[in-house]
């Protein structure tokens, strides 16, 4: 493994990352002008986007890096399921209680381990 980037190398990497991120946003604006919301391609793209976001979330839960990786997988999944249970127990306006459930359970695990 190489040594960490330092000094200017780091800032050049940031410039590249910033341009790459903005590029994706700008391409979206360009394409958005030409897309009709009623079209088939729109339905397809919405499905692709939801799948991408789902993949990102499952990665954050199942394969996290850093501190969260020190929590056993089954505990992470259990807390997710309990929070989802709170969320769907009464569909309207349960987001904050469900979020608190999950966060406090994770905090509690951190305290007792």
């Amino acid at each position: 493994m190489n040594t960490a980037l330092q000094g200017w190398g780091l800032w050049i990497a940031l410039a590249g990352a910033t341009l790459g991120t903005y590029f994706c946003r700008a391409i979206g604006v360009l394409l958005a002008k030409k897309i009709n919301q009623e079209s088939e391609i729109f339905r397809w793209l919405a499905a692709v986007t939801y799948a991408m976001v789902a993949a990102l979330v499952v990665r954050m839960v199942l394969m996290p890096i850093g501190l969260l990786a020190t929590v056993p997988l089954w505990i992470r999944i259990l807390i997710c399921l309990l929070s989802l249970g709170v969320m769907v127990s009464k569909p309207a306006h349960r987001l904050v209680p469900a979020l608190l459930t999950g966060t406090l359970l994770m905090l509690a695990y951190g305290v007792i381990r």
Binding site: M1, N2, T3, A4, L5, L10, W11, A13, L14, G16, A17, G20, T21, F23, C24, R25, A26, I27, G28, V29, L31, A32, K33, I35, Q37, E40, R43, W44, A46, A47, V48, Y50, A51, M52, A54, A55, L56, V57, V58, R59, M60, L62, M63, P64, L67, C80, S83, M87, V88, P91, L99, G102, T103, L104, M106, L107, A108, Y109, G110, V111
Partner: protein, 261 residues
């Protein structure tokens, strides 16, 4: 998530029909409502995510300027984490730029599904500036709320929502940077968990079956593609799972009366 519910109904048409019941009286009202809507769970989630990222920068030996500049300039947490990870392990600048760009491809489809809902007069070059405010949080909320907002006020609402999220990301990062090592790990653990949990929970608000199937397949296929190749995994999962959901919807669901109305 409005559009997802009725993707074949033009939201601007709904707004025209319902002009008798306006949600906002003018664009400044819409803008401040956007700010107000952001200032609850969304801002809390994003702030916690940025605090977690700031802590990560500190514990990996970056300086506070670099760590907070990534939040200001990129404003895309997964991309920021990839940048930090790769910079620490000494990847080349080109490899970093490519990997981050691949993680950010979700912005293309997010923009394409959200921005056509703005009013025609708002769909100009100014959107190239507004698009920087687009992140997963603002996207998820806008997709839900735009259904009940008139087309002409959507941009103001979106800017209010996105602006607050963007502006708090920098103080969040700085706070996390200086907090790291000061608070007990249990608290940090709770903070870093808010992000994935928030998005997981918002999925329960998706009502239309094509998108529900896409999410389910994304959950199943995501880890598989991640093991194959982590940098392209979001893109490949999105394309494969999204296309499968779309085809299933087109070939099976649409033929059953009542499922999609």
């Amino acid at each position: 998530m409005s559009l997802a519910d009725k993707p074949y109904i033009d939201p601007s048409e709904i707004a025209l029909e319902g002009s008798g019941v306006q949600r906002f009286k003018d664009s400044s009202h819409a803008f401040w409502s956007g700010i107000r809507d952001a200032a609850g769970a969304p801002a809390m989630v994003l702030f916690a995510g940025m605090v977690g990222f700031g802590a990560m920068g500190k514990t990996n030996g970056m300086d506070v300027w670099f760590t907070s500049a990534t939040s200001f300039l990129m404003f895309a947490l997964p991309g920021q984490v990839v940048l930090l990870e790769m910079a620490i392990t000494g990847s080349s600048v080109l490899a970093i730029a490519l990997a981050v760009t691949l993680t950010s491809t979700r912005f293309i489809t997010m923009t394409v599904t959200l921005f056509p809902q703005f009013h025609e007069k708002d769909r100009n070059h100014g959107l190239y500036a507004s698009v920087h405010l687009l992140a997963m949080t603002a996207w998820a909320i806008s997709m839900r709320e735009f259904q009940t907002i008139e087309a002409k006020h959507r941009l103001s609402y979106f800017i209010g929502l996105g602006l607050l999220c963007w502006l708090i990301s920098v103080p969040g990062t700085i706070l996390g940077y200086y907090l790291a090592g000061m608070v007990p790990p249990a608290i940090t653990l709770g903070l870093v968990f808010i992000n994935p949990l928030f998005f997981l929970l918002t999925f329960t608000e998706v009502k239309v079956w094509i998108n529900r199937i896409a999410i389910g397949l994304g959950f199943v296929l995501g880890p598989f593609f991640f093991i194959l190749d982590r940098d392209t995994s979001l893109l490949t999962t999105g394309l494969v799972a999204g296309t499968a959901a779309y085809l299933f919807d087109r070939k099976v669901l649409r033929k059953k009366a009542g499922v999609i109305g």
